[in-house]
Symmetry: C2
Subunit: 337 residues, 2 copies
Amino acid sequence: MRDVAALAGVGLKTVSRVVNGEPNVAAETQARVRAAAEQLDFRPDIHAGNLRRTGRKTRTVGLVVGSVANPFSGALHRGVEDLAESRGTAVFASSLDDDASRETRIVSEMLSRRVDGLILTTVLKNQSYLAPEQQRGTVLTFVDREPLGIDADTIVTDNAEAAAAATAHLVSVGHRRLAYLGDRAEIWTASQRRTGFLRQLGRVGVATADIPVIEGLHDEASAFAATLRLLDSPSPPTALFTSQNLVTIGTIRALRTRGMHNRVALFGFDDIPLGDMIEPGVSVVAQNPYEMGREAASRVFARLDGDDSPFSTVVIPSTLIHRGSGDIAPPADGLAP
Amino acid sequence: MRDVAALAGVGLKTVSRVVNGEPNVAAETQARVRAAAEQLDFRPDIHAGNLRRTGRKTRTVGLVVGSVANPFSGALHRGVEDLAESRGTAVFASSLDDDASRETRIVSEMLSRRVDGLILTTVLKNQSYLAPEQQRGTVLTFVDREPLGIDADTIVTDNAEAAAAATAHLVSVGHRRLAYLGDRAEIWTASQRRTGFLRQLGRVGVATADIPVIEGLHDEASAFAATLRLLDSPSPPTALFTSQNLVTIGTIRALRTRGMHNRVALFGFDDIPLGDMIEPGVSVVAQNPYEMGREAASRVFARLDGDDSPFSTVVIPSTLIHRGSGDIAPPADGLAP
DNA sequence: ACCGTCAATGACAACGGTGTCATGTCTAGG
DNA sequence: CCTAGACATGACACCGTTGTCATTGACGGT
């Protein structure tokens, strides 16, 4: 900028004025400055400016998700980005792989970069470590999972209700021997879905004591193995509820391996790509990750714009998509499939 | 930082030393400073530091892709992130939707933020506008598509060769009436793939004049419609080559709508999720986006570490995955399917 | 002719840190 | 006892930009 000023033969502040479109610069001066800036390929350093600028906004938000390679996170990311982009805000994205030990480190990295807001899918059991940062004015918003130990805007899916609805459907088809295949219990969404599943069974009077509840599944491979074990057990379930997209896929592979995909019912949480094209079509609880991202970003920007209403939790409704796998009836004898 | 210094009763510079782990600070002083920093929840402003720091590295890279919601971009992003994370570097990601008008704006946004490196999947026909920036020291790396008008490290897939190989396979199965369904011709990868497709047909003596080459398909819907038109034409093709994941999916939907999915052969470029589970399995050219991302990031960091060898183009090999759809033979009469 | 207003402009401090250098203190060697 | 290092520390300028304020000159009204 110094160079531009010299070349245009004006003061530093005048260049600053031109660059920022401030008023009271003679048209002829403006032209000279612009020409000089062009010639030197000048680009203002946004961070140097932010240092002095009042309000001190970096127009940057951080997004922490499971993995940017996961379609759920990808859609959510896109939702955030679309809103951010329209406000000239850049997005830092980071993957946690639900690894609690990375959370503090990555969040701290982002805070050093002075993000205006943070949109988090948390892993740690407790987010109270963020309180001082929130106090300082950084806008915190949680997506997909509710935080603990801190109060902030939160965007979630109706996990328990949707899981219960899917379970109710399986029961209505006639199933009594169900099984739950889910992610690690520490993950908030996983435990919510399990709760919904079990609560619904309780409601309709299915004894939950005998229902296999398998947890700790985090990828296709572990879900595949767990499903095989279930299918090979002495009294295999007639319907499966899977609590997450990767688990659903691993389970489908296992069902196919055993040739049971048209005989054991399946309802999954999270939509999976091409779920309508495989045989049978995969019935799922479809969340709306794009909308969750948009809503989260929208909350962040509202807060940055000065909204100081009490924190709220927005529940983005999910939809049951019936494609067939959830409508497979239990075998006639009501026992072995 | 001022506050920390005051609280610890030391000078500013001493706090700086402690925070940055510089030597020559008495153990007792260090402890006092750390305690004060902890108490005030002090976090250094990375950008303020970079202002004065020699070398002036922000430890930030920008990633510009098609869409963060696309699984290809997602995997690539993850590849970049994994390497970046290990170097304490944050990643800005932005989606272009292959919209040329967004390219300059988004790139310029990132440059204002003083990214150390930029990993780009470009849309514009010409990237010479980046030359001054490259001169200035910003590391430029292109992924997936070759740049024009500028020299820089580039990571690509063997597009033409792989497309030719897939085409060769379709021909070897007996097909002569093929069709190409592809993205907009301005997109470098799309035109490379078309070239590979047509060149291979030429090589084996299939007259390309009668081969439908449909371009400008950018999403499922347009591919769906285009495929229907092809299938409903007086002399429909017996084999289809689709040049991109979304196009492949739209085409599969169309084939199913017409009940032709087991009678018309299909080879797609880009792997699609669950492609092995639908009927018939989808034969594809599988790229390795994760590896492309990793390699791109690795080039960027090598350059930042001072590597000044001539720019190179790395070709990440792709694999033909045969799952069935590419092995459907043409109908016996050799004409109408 | 005089004065108040207002547009145009630049000098200067400040933002939150780091590089450089001077200063003071302590220790070991002569 | 004296002195050369080595260590510990802070004063100060500076990074690139913006907020504040003072200065200058032109202009309109009386």
